[in-house]
Structure formats: structure tokens, C-alpha cells
Subunit: 715 residues, 2 copies
């Protein structure tokens, strides 16, 4: 608890995770009912606060499991921090009113039958939220397994058993997965600080809990199983800050709602179903686990081990094969095998047999005793070059499993700043020492790859945590007013696709260089504008109804004279009419023909959860085949824009290869920042494409040849 300005300021969700008083609404003596299970769990969890039961048959029951029963919450002669709700859904709206009057802070609504069942349920859920908002009650759920906190301690769930006490917080959008993981974890010896079922997330969601658990001293790592993220932007803001203090590891299932199905733009068609989540997680330092096995393998390492300084590891083994497997996996996961000093090797030679391998991975041979392991591990941890140690043991004739485990536990304590991960390949013989290691907080894995991946996760987190704090979002000069006016006009005409010249005007207002472009509405205008701009020019059909201009003969290049411009105007309009007899507007863009630069594609696409994605990558006719693109989330910092570009393969071309001069990378970065500002300033932009986008040699700038902007149909 913090004392702020004289008032007692509670940590976020403090009275939910560590309540002083809890009332179970719908507590029951019937052992088959959820209302009994919750009460039993609360009683046996060791909860030290005040506990009350609510049931209309209070008079009949008197007490359940030693807990006094009241007919109604208003009767309780005490304040209530948390109400755990197990009564049928239809009674909950009026209950919320009672809770509000009693000034209850939190309601964990276990009951199902809401949004997950359809529109009727969704209505009921909204009703509950409305009442809760009125009184300022915060809701977990509905449709949850419950909330468990082992440091409180408190088990406000209907889970059959309690998790072991530990340092991992686990949030799950699937209650059933929680029950499975709980049961599995007890057998595996994995402990938890908090175990929270998020359910329908009618009010409190993953972002709230991540923020709260960041301040929970009992939690070393936050894990989450998520099917969706409710408030993408807040999620990013919160996680950005939290991941500097403790790791957040997420397994995200299902497909992104953004999807790539409905997209008509290039940017859209290049966005994979899950791109946004990957980009968002990267932006805020969240580690994404590919599957449940990996999630818990990582959690193990994070809750027991320090974060390494770098990616250089030493591998110590008593068998060559597993050492090679570990080395392969280390390379695959961006770990480096530390180069060991000659002093180190000399010291090894003093006690290891000459046939041993003194290079990394260090093979102490099958004859290695616990004493040998101890000395090698300690020497490795002392090496400055070594950021972390992986110990592999196979059960050979002379192997001392238990004694080796003892050594690991003992030495690890002397070097608290470097992680030690163990891989004991065995079961019957090595089983007891594996159990011992886990009990003494040494992560232990049955196969080389799993242990190495866990080490790699520690290193990945170190990298994410250490990366320089983002600079500010650059506040570049831009003409918002101008863009506002253009969009208003487009909307007033009930259009969603901007004309080419409109889109170019928007780009220009945001400082993005485009070739001089005019809209000709007659062949006469075509001639005049062409002369004004100067030859050679390009002419393109423009109509809100025509998307594929080239395919219908709507684009002509290299026009050299006024007369040619006039004739071309007539030809283009004829071609367009042939293919689109009902097109609303038909006019022709007259554009200065630019010299050819290296072709990129730049764009943006709106994501319902996280705001707007910005894209950059290789352009040209075959852009869609190679999909050499990278994404960021608007608004972008300069560093983020640079990183995006660096992720593409085309970046190495931009830097100049095979004797070519480098391209104007600065101008590309500048354009990305300007696009990010544009889509962030105007949320009505659904999609934006600049294709082709030419970048010229260093200091020669860029040119946005064709700009397409589509607005949302509904604001």
C-alpha cells in the first residue's frame, strides 16, 4: 500500500486479489454445487480475512463449513471487499444493485449464461455492467472458474484443487484450460502466485490484471492464455511499462479479427492473420509462446532464474549427442556458444580426462562425477564471457545424479546473477534428482531442445527489456486542416475511396513528396495541365469506381506533347466507359513522369484492436509473390520505423550492393513516420497504399507516385 498525498492509496486490484472480507453469493451446503466448491476452497485455502455466505435459506442452514450464512448481503454487519457470485444469471442484475448499496468493491461472477450464449445473454451481461458502473463495482467475468491468489492466500474458485504456491501469475481466457493446467502443474511441481480466470471480460480484462500483477511482489512472471485482446492500445501502453520490470508471456490462440479476407489494398493482402498480434507484442516487449508446452517451459525459467546479461552460454555435458542437439538448438534460437579462455581450458585439463572436449559444448565424458560437474560449472560461471550455463546429464554407469543435482543447487547460490538451466535426460534413475532440482528452484527439462529454448527466452527478454526507451513520437509539421477538409468533402459526397488527386493532396499536406499532379475533367483541361506540368507526363483514369486502372487501359506513360495528351485523354475515357459504363465520375490524372527509382511499397491498414498498422517493403510487379514486408503500429518512433525497414530483405539493397550507390533511406523513414502520423491523426482512414513508391539515391529523396486512400464506411 502506498500513502499518496495523505490518502491511503491501494495498489490496483489490491482488494480483489487480497481482500479483507469476502462474501460468497449463492454459497450452498450441496456438495455438487459450485456454491459449495467455492466456499470449501475459500475455507481450506487458509484465507485469513472475514468470510460470509449468502443464501436465501440462511435460517435453515445456519453455517456451512463453519461459515455463517446470511439471507442477504445487506444483513452482513461488515464491509465487503469482494463478492463471489454463484447464483443463476437472471438474478444477478438485481444482486448488483444490492452489492452497490453495500459498497462492495469487486464482484467475481462465476455464473455462466451471458454473452457466450448469444444476444439474450449479451443483453443481460450489459445490464450487469451498467449497474456495476453506476456503483463503481469492478467485475471479473462473468463465466469464470474464479480467482486464486496463493499469497493472500485465497481460492475463490470452484477448481477441484488449489495450485501450489509459487511465483508465476497465470491469466486465462479459458476456465477449462485453467483446470487442466492446474492439475498438470500440481503433478509437475509448478507453482503459482495468482491464477485468474478472465471469462467474458465484461469489465476487468488482461490489461487490468497485468498492470496490477506488475506491482505484486509475489509474482515474478506473468503468463496469459488469450483468445482476444480487448483494449489493444491500452494493452500496449501497460505492457511497455510492465515488461521492463517482469516478463509477460502470452499464448494467443485463434485468428486476428483484422483478418486479411476483406482487405482490398496491397497492404491488406500482405497482412497475415496474426501479424497485428506479433507486431503489437514486439512493440511492447511481450514474449509470445508458440504453444502451451513452451509457455510453461519458459515460465519455469523466468520464475527461478535471473535475466542474463547477454546471449553467450556454456554447455556442459557428459555425453556428446545431447551436447550437439543442444548446440543446434542454441544456434537456431540466437544463442551463442561462449568462447572460453585458455586459462579456463587449462583449469579443466587439471581434472578432466584428456579425451574430454574442453571447447564449448564442454564434454566432461561419461565418467564425470558430481565433483567434476561442480568444478566445471563453477569455472564456467566465473568466466566473464559466459552469460548463462546449461548443464546436461545422462545416466551413465558412473553418473552421480543426486550428488550432481546437489552441486548445481549449491553453486547456483554462489552466482545469483547468471542463469543455470539443467537438462537431465532420464526418468526412473534420474527421477529423484530431477524432482530435487525443481524443488530447489533449478529449472530442469527432459530434452535438450526444451531447456535451450527456455534459456533463449531469458535472453530474448533481456534484449526486449534492455532496448532503449522509445524516443518521443516525432511531431512533424503537417497540415491537418487541409486533410480534414478533403475527408469532409469526400464524406459529404458519400464516397469512401479518395480520387487520386485527393489522395495526393493528403500526402502533400503531410509532407510526403509526390510528383506534380492535376485532375483533368475534359480533353481541353488535359492539354492545358499537361503543358503546365511539363513533359513527359503520365495519364491515369481516376474514378471512385475503378480500382484496376492498368487492366482496362486506363494508364498511359511517356506522353510528350499537348496534342498527345488531348488524344490520350479521349482514349482513356473511352476505355474506361467500355469497362465501367456506370462509373460515377470519370476524369484523368495528369502527372509529371518521374525518373525510375528503386521500387518500394508503403501502406497502412486499420486493425480493430490495436489501431493502424504501417507497412513497408519491396514493391514492383512481384511484390505480392515475395511478400518482403515489415509492419509497425502507428504512431511510430523513429527507431521503430528504422527497425521496420531493417527487417525487410530489400533493406540490404537500399544500403547499396554490387557497387550500387545507397538509396535515400532517411527519406523512406521520414515517409513512414509521416504516414504513421496521418493514420493516427485520422482514425477514419481504413486503408492507405503508396504503390509504386520510388526511392532515389542518397539525398535524392523519394516519390509517392500513386496514393490510394480508403475511409471507413461508418465512423
Amino acid at each position: 500500500m502506498l500513502i499518496l498525498g495523505g490518502i491511503l492509496a491501494l495498489k490496483k486490484l489490491e482488494k480483489l486479489l487480497h481482500p479483507d472480507s469476502v462474501a460468497i453469493i449463492g454459497a450452498s451446503p450441496d456438495k455438487k454445487k459450485v456454491g459449495y466448491a467455492v466456499l470449501r476452497n475459500m475455507v481450506y485455502s487458509g484465507f485469513k480475512g472475514r468470510l460470509y455466505a449468502i443464501n436465501p435459506k440462511a435460517a435453515q442452514y445456519g453455517e456451512i463449513e463453519g461459515v455463517k450464512v446470511f439471507t442477504n448481503i445487506s444483513e452482513i454487519p461488515d464491509t465487503i471487499d469482494l463478492a463471489v457470485v454463484c447464483i443463476p444469471a437472471r438474478f444477478i442484475p438485481s444482486l448488483m444493485d444490492e452489492l452497490g448499496k453495500k459498497d462492495v468493491k469487486y464482484a467475481a461472477i462465476i455464473t455462466a449464461g451471458f454473452k457466450e450464449t448469444g444476444t439474450e445473454g449479451a443483453k443481460l451481461e450489459q445490464q450487469i455492467v451498467d449497474v456495476a458502473n453506476k456503483y463503481g463495482i469492478r467485475i471479473v467475468g462473468p463465466n469464470i472458474l474464479g480467482v486464486i491468489d496463493t499469497s493472500a492466500p485465497m481460492n475463490a474458485s470452484f477448481a477441484e484443487r488449489s495450485p501450489i504456491k509459487g511465483e508465476i501469475a497465470f491469466l486465462s481466457q479459458s476456465g477449462a484450460l485453467l483446470t487442466g493446467i492446474l492439475d498438470w502443474s500440481r503433478a509437475e511441481g509448478i507453482g503459482y502466485s495468482s491464477f485468474v480466470s478472465l471469462g467474458n471480460k465484461a469489465d476487468l480484462d488482461e490489461t487490468d490484471f497485468i498492470e496490477a500483477l506488475a506491482d505484486d511482489e509475489h509474482t515474478l512472471a506473468i503468463l496469459a492464455y488469450l483468445e482476444s485482446i480487448n483494449r489493444g492500445k491500452e494493452f500496449i501502453e501497460v505492457c511497455k511499462e510492465v515488461t521492463r520490470r517482469k516478463p509477460v508471456i502470452v499464448i494467443k490462440s485463434g485468428r486476428s479479427e483484422a483478418g486479411s479476407k476483406a482487405a482490398s489494398s496491397h497492404t491488406g493482402s500482405m497482412t497475415g492473420a496474426d501479424t497485428t498480434y506479433d507486431v503489437a507484442f514486439e512493440k511492447c516487449g511481450v514474449i509470445r509462446a508458440d504453444n502451451a508446452q513452451e509457455l510453461f517451459d519458459m515460465a519455469f525459467a523466468f520464475s527461478y532464474m535471473p535475466i542474463p546479461k547477454g546471449n553467450k552460454i556454456a554447455i556442459i555435458t557428459n555425453a556428446g549427442g545431447p551436447g550437439i542437439l543442444a548446440t543446434d538448438e542454441a544456434e537456431r534460437n540466437g544463442l551463442k556458444l561462449a568462447t572460453l579462455s585458455s586459462e579456463f581450458k587449462e583449469q579443466l585439463r587439471e581434472f578432466l580426462p584428456p579425451a574430454a572436449n574442453f571447447n564449448n559444448p564442454i564434454d566432461a565424458l561419461g565418467t564425470a562425477q558430481a565433483e567434476d560437474y561442480g568444478r566445471v560449472i563453477e569455472l564456467a560461471l566465473k568466466e566473464e564471457e559466459v552469460d548463462g550455463v546449461i548443464v546436461i546429464l545422462t545416466p551413465q554407469a558412473m553418473t552421480e545424479g543426486q550428488e550432481t543435482a546437489d552441486k548445481i543447487v549449491e553453486i547456483r547460490k554462489k552466482y545469483p546473477d547468471k542463469p543455470v538451466i539443467s537438462i537431465f535426460i532420464g526418468g526412473e534413475i534420474l527421477g529423484p534428482s530431477i524432482y530435487f532440482l525443481k524443488k530447489h528452484r533449478i529449472p530442469c527439462y527432459p530434452h535438450p531442445e526444451r531447456g535451450v529454448k527456455a534459456m533463449a527466452a531469458l535472453v530474448e527478454y533481456a534484449r526486449k527489456r534492455e532496448k532503449p526507451l522509445d524516443d518521443d513520437i516525432p511531431n512533424l509539421v503537417r497540415d491537418k486542416e487541409k486533410v480534414r477538409k478533403i475527408f469532409d468533402k469526400v464524406k459529404s459526397e458519400k464516397r469512401f475511396n479518395l480520387l487520386g488527386t485527393e489522395a495526393i493532396e493528403v500526402a502533400v499536406a503531410y509532407g510526403i513528396r509526390t510528383p506534380p499532379t492535376r485532375l483533368a475533367r475534359s480533353k481541353e483541361e488535359a492539354g492545358i495541365f499537361a503543358e503546365e506540368i511539363g513533359f513527359p507526363i503520365v495519364m491515369k483514369i481516376t474514378s471512385p469506381d475503378i480500382v484496376h486502372k492498368t487492366d482496362i487501359g486506363g494508364v498511359k506513360l511517356g506522353i510528350q506533347s499537348k496534342e498527345e495528351a488531348i488524344n490520350t485523354y479521349v482514349e482513356i475515357i473511352e476505355n474506361a466507359k467500355k469497362h465501367h459504363p456506370n462509373a460515377q465520375i470519370l476524369a484523368v490524372d495528369i502527372q509529371k513522369m518521374e525518373s525510375v527509382g528503386r521500387e518500394l511499397i508503403v501502406g497502412s491498414m486499420k486493425d480493430p484492436q490495436f489501431g493502424s498498422l504501417v507497412m513497408v517493403g519491396m514493391g514492383g510487379v512481384y511484390a505480392n509473390f515475395f511478400k518482403d514486408v515489415a509492419f509497425g503500429l502507428a504512431p511510430l518512433t523513429k527507431r521503430e520505423a528504422e527497425k521496420m525497414l531493417e527487417q525487410t530483405k530489400v533493406y540490404s539493397l537500399l544500403k547499396g550492393v554490387r557497387g550500387e550507390k545507397p538509396s535515400d533511406i532517411e527519406s523512406v523513414i521520414d515517409t513512414l513516420l509521416r504516414i504513421a502520423l496521418l493514420v493516427n491523426d485520422f482514425h477514419e482512414i481504413k486503408e492507405l497504399d503508396i504503390n509504386p513508391f520510388f526511392v532515389y539515391e542518397e539525398n535524392q529523396g523519394i516519390s509517392a507516385l500513386d496514393v490510394k486512400i480508403t475511409l471507413n464506411k461508418i465512423e
Copy 2:
């Protein structure tokens, strides 16, 4: 055993894996010695044949563990099928002589201290092999844990325990990994038919054992941990045949010796360290596991389940979250969720609650009882559309773990042709039912992804097994004599790089279309040849010492007249002299300038294990950036060449996109076949590059503009 032509023909390695009589050379009563451990294991393995011990102190010992001891193998009044050797390395050469005289068939040499220790050891190893070859003794090892066969039964190893009897054969190049896996498998309940330590593979290797185990009725799946493959071509031939009968799953560690480090060709620089193994495994139907966890997860499925007909699965769950995770993983691994018939859904509605999900993945809800599970599983197995079923269970309040496991075991027996994989997420509560499932031969996994991947492996094997038998290698018309002469000339001049015109002659001899090309050794010749060929022409410096021709001004395009050709000759030679004053030969290729086609790159590179890799992919200046290439192993069948091309992204361009005409794909395939024949006919070809390689529109053929061929330095 097979009776062939009246003679009793033994199955391959029959008397090694199922010997009638075994002698342990170096058997010892000292419990700390390997010679004791092997004897003890043989005695307690239940071996039913005749067992003998050999020790110079026979008189003193008499019997060890009830086995009679002889001083020398020659004294044994019996034939010996297998000698298990545990005596020091230096005594083994003379021992081999004794074994030979006794007509022993097989020697399993457990002793270490050979090739793995350096040159001296390697010499000793060669000595042993020489003697063995003289007598026709086949050797396993040296440097092995031993050989175990649970159907014999026989445990000729010094492992501390015996594996459980089962249907998986496991070959390992690391003995220590075997001990770890053995210990781990006993705890996990995984059983083995054979357990073979390959050691130094001085004689018998993975290919021999895979061939032998293919005929072993007790083995349903062959697993191997390999660090190298000795006889690549034989491995491919054997596995091609074996994988049609049973799955071969390999985890290959370490990096390919081919490597990409030393390569100077384009093809070489695009070859990843492990490309050859991937290509070889694909060619012969071997499944590659990424890591040990996956290897055994797959093995579980293969030994207990039938191979499905297709990739359409049904997922049945009592919890949404794990169902989604399984669906995600299924999509990632090429499985399809079967579309379920309306009759099927109607039947589900009869007994599942209305809130259940009747589509795939079928969510029977947390209330699902064993009876419900049974009915859904049976209905799903009956559906024609469903090729296999995945059953997910989480331990919820009403869950009947054991009864559900009973149902799965019971129903699975009624539908022996479709695989059923179970995923029970739990440990303490579900533990007993998980144990029950495994005992009753139902693969069971703790996390959705592992179960789904195992199912995907069954489907992958089905695909590999079912693919049409390769056609014959096409025997295209070619002029081997011509090529032989060119290579002989090059070698006689102590060169390794062919001149451009020589390489072009080789290509022409193998029916690969190249532009007319002549070698001009003077400016006069340049003029004459240019006129003969006809303008425009291309002129290129040619010298065995110059690799990067363009960079030194050694290439000139679009020469239009005799005079220009003469001047250009002088200019090119001057440029070359400036950069390479010591170049051996300096001349200029005069080549007809071809019209520009779509640019591909085609090449070949020799691999020490598997023969020659053939490559095809996107060409052009940026080929190295996109590495859009695919590989095959020579010689190629037509189907293989087609498949290579189909694997590239550029293939979709060749088929014609955006209104372009399709390219002459047939001619590309033809070229690949011809290159494969060339490198297969002439093993001295180290590297071959055709770059650029133009392909024109359909029926317009190809043109190999520049051909580079490098020969091996030593034959």
C-alpha cells in the same frame, strides 16, 4: 526366415538381433566392469539361446552368474552367432582373428578407444575392420552401449536397465543418449522392439539396421538419432523401399559436411548447412523430427495407431480454449478440420446440450460425461469425411476421467482403421487415466499442440507412403564422349574451372540450349566470329583466373558491327590485364545476344554423402537476396524435377500472372533432368552454375546464357 531356391535364407542381421548363441568376450565377475554388466543383462534379459563367457581367468572363475567361463572362444564346443566384445581395444585385432577362425558371424564391439580418440585409434579401428572383412564378420560399433532386442529377448549392453518391450526400434549414434532415453522411456511407459547403439559405425551402419528392421515383425516404427549418414546413396535407396512399409523417423544433429562455407558458386552460396539432409529425407520418405520431444511424440502415435487415409480430422473437447489451440496447430501442420454432415450434427443434438458446439472442433461442454464422449467419438469415427479423431479432455467438476479413457479404448478397437489421439490436460486428477490410456495403446499428450503434431506426422507419413512410385530416371540422348574429352583436356592442363566456351560445349552435348558462342583469341578472330554469329552480340572475357567478369569491365553487350567487335576485344583484354596482370589465358567469348526471357538460376553442387544436389530458382541480380530456390538430388525423375520447380515462388510467375503468358515450364524441367544426368554421369563435377538462364514463353524454349563448371581438384 525365407526359403530361397532351396537354401535357408536368413533375414538380414537375423543372427545379430536374434542369435542362437552368444559369447561375451571379457565377461567379468567384477560388478563395476562393463564385462559384468553385459553378462548380467544377458542373463536377466530372458535370453533363451546358449550363452558363454570368455575370460583368461576361466579356471579361477568357473561360472559367472551361472554362465560357464572359457579361456578362449576356440574352446567353446558350439557355434557362436554373436560375440559381444568388452576387452581393451589393443587386444581386439587378434581377437578378431580368433572370431574369424571360429566362424563367428557378428561382433558387437562395446570397447571404446578407436576413431573417436584420434589417428592412432582410427588405425586400430581399420585393422579390426580389415580382419573382419577377411573372415566376413560383421561389426556393430566399436564404442557402443550395446544391442538390445526385446523380442529375442536379448540385452547385449551395459545399460543399467532394460527397456520395456514395445514396437519401436531406436538406433542411436550416441550411446549416452540411449541410456538417457532408456531411463526416460521407462518412466514414460514407452516400449521398444530394438535398441541399437551404432557407435563409430566402422562396419554396420544406420542403413544396414533400417533395412534389417524393415523385415522385423516386432518393429512398427524405426527411429534414429544420427550425427552423420555414412552411405548416402544406399541410405536413400533402402529408405525409399522401407518407408513404404513402415515409418522411419530421424533426428539429425550437427551440420552437414557439405556446408556452404567453401562454396564459390551461386548454387553453393544458396545451400543451407542442412539442405542436403532435408532433400535426401524428402526423396526417400524419411520423416525428420526437429527435436527429441517430437521424435518420441511421433513414435508413440506410429506404434499405436493406423495410418490415416487423409488429412481431415475431427476434434472433440470439453473446453473451448484447448480446442482452439488444437485447431490453430492443426492448420499450421497441414491438417484440415473435417466438414461434418448434417446427419452427424442432428445426432449430436439428441444428447448434447444446446449450448454445445456441433461444428468441428466439437465442444461437448464441461458437463460432458464419459457416455457423451463415447457417443461423439463413435459418431465421428463413423463419418466418412473424418480420417482421424483427436480427443481433448480437461478435468472439470463433472468430468469422468477414467470412464472416458475406458470409452476411448473400447471404441478405438471397433474402428481399427482410423487413428485416435488423446490429449488429457492434467496430472494429479487425470494421471491415472493417462496411465491407463498409454497402457492400452492410446497415445496421450499433455498439451494440445503435441497431440496435434503427432497426428500430423501420421498424415505426413500417409502422404509420403502413398505418393506414386517414382518413374524411371529418363534416359535422354546425350554425348558423354564429347564431355569426357573436354574434361580430360581440362584436367591435362591442370585446370579445374572450364572456360566459358568449354562449359557451353558440355551443355550442348547434353542437349541444353545455349546461344551460339565462339572463343576469340585475337581481335581478328573477334571480328570474324562476330560476323559469323550475326549481330547483336555479347562479348565476355574468358580466363580460368577471372571469376567476376562484370566487375572488371569484362562484359560488353549489344555490339552491332564487326568494327565494334574488334575495338571491344581490345578494350576487354586491356581491362582484364589491368585487374589480372598474371592471368594465364586471356581470350574473349563472342556470343549471340539473346532476347530477354524470365531469368532463372539453375545449378548443381556436389555433396560428399548424397551425390549431387540440383538447384533451380529465381535468377537475376537479387537472386541472392530472396533465395527463392529449391533442391533435388541427382539423378532426378521427371516428377521430382517438377516438384522442385513447384516449390519455388517463381513458379507461380512461370505459370503466368497478371495477364502474362505462361513460360516454357516443360523446357525448364527438361534442363533440370539433363543437368541431373550430367552431374550423375560425371562425378568429377564439383559445381555447375547456369546464370543467367532465360526461359521464354510456352513452346519457345530456354537459353543457358552463361555456364560455369568447376571440377574436383582430386578425383
